[in-house]
Symmetry: C2
Subunit: 160 residues, 2 copies
DNA sequence: TATGCCCTTTACGTCAACGTCAAGACCCGG
DNA sequence: CCGGGTCTTGACGTTGACGTAAAGGGCATA
């Protein structure tokens, strides 16, 4: 069993991907239903490849930036049918460029939203500092939170 | 009627705001239902102030960056109850800081998505240039699109 | 062999964010 | 006084993205 363990051939169960990305089995099956994923099968059971995992990452990120599953599917479809459906691609091109403009707008919006939230936080903190300093959270809390959030994203290979 | 026309006192009908921001009356009433807007009344009719309009802008931008109406409401509520509900504010503070972290993540996501869409566009364009140059859109089209998108955002005061 | 645990499919339920009528008030020009 | 247009309040429908419960298969461990 020498070449058997080569990394790119590693596969994942539905639950492994779910716990890794905090999704639910139902969601992954739903994506499959909608044509965004097409894992292999071992008997009845789904077997996800590295490629499937990569697609899932794209799906989840797409969702985070506000794309619909439909839009995500269109994007994913580009990575496959290189040669066929040329006319389709010409159409996709247009939609993608529109989407880029959308996203650039959205990026601006996010900048603005971040700034406002920061300002709001400052206001609250000043307010609290004056009148109820006891309610101010310890710095450690926030630190803790950041740490927890970052934990979910290390490229871990072995199980916990 | 000298002071009568001072700008900050200008009011808006529901339709004016809708056409200005490409929303629907139903949506504005829905936001009101959910406590995000509370326009004055002239008899039965809603009368939106400059403040209401400002809130609406925040609502719409919040939506674009993926906030739920619920989250938007929480943010808007900060601009009002300055003194009361202090404990509440301490809680909001935490949620806001979380949201900031979220948004920063989302900004990264958007960067990534933009880059991938650009790459995808490049691929398609190269592909088309080689095999079906006839399908390539004229540069003018894209230009047109950009222009249209920018038009919607000038701070216009007079009607069309 | 029984007890779990994880997998499967099918099907109905849910929640947000509106859309879409329906039925009626108000005002305005002809 | 009669449409026509804009406003109002219900109330029900819709769409996307799943949640949840039911009914069953497969494998392992006690």
């Amino acid at each position: 069993m020498p070449t058997e363990l080569r990394r790119p051939e590693r596969t994942f169960t539905i639950r492994q991907l779910c716990t890794e990305f905090k999704a639910t089995p139902r969601a992954l099956r739903f994506y499959e239903d909608k044509g965004l994923l097409t894992p292999a099968r071992d008997g009845m059971n789904r077997v996800y490849s590295y490629k499937d995992r990569a697609r899932l990452i794209l799906i989840l990120r797409g969702k985070r930036v506000g794309l619909s599953l439909q839009e995500i599917r269109e994007i994913l479809e580009l990575y496959g049918e290189h040669d066929e459906a040329m006319q389709q691609n010409a159409h996709s091109l247009k939609k993608f460029k529109e989407k880029i403009v959308d996203l650039e707008q959205q990026r601006e919006d996010i900048e603005g939203a971040i700034n406002e939230l920061r300002a709001a936080c400052d206001r609250i903190e000043k307010h609290l500092a004056e009148k109820r300093p006891d309610l101010l959270p310890k710095a450690a809390d926030y630190d803790q939170m950041l740490r927890a959030r970052l934990d979910g994203h290390g490229e871990m290979v072995g199980a916990k």
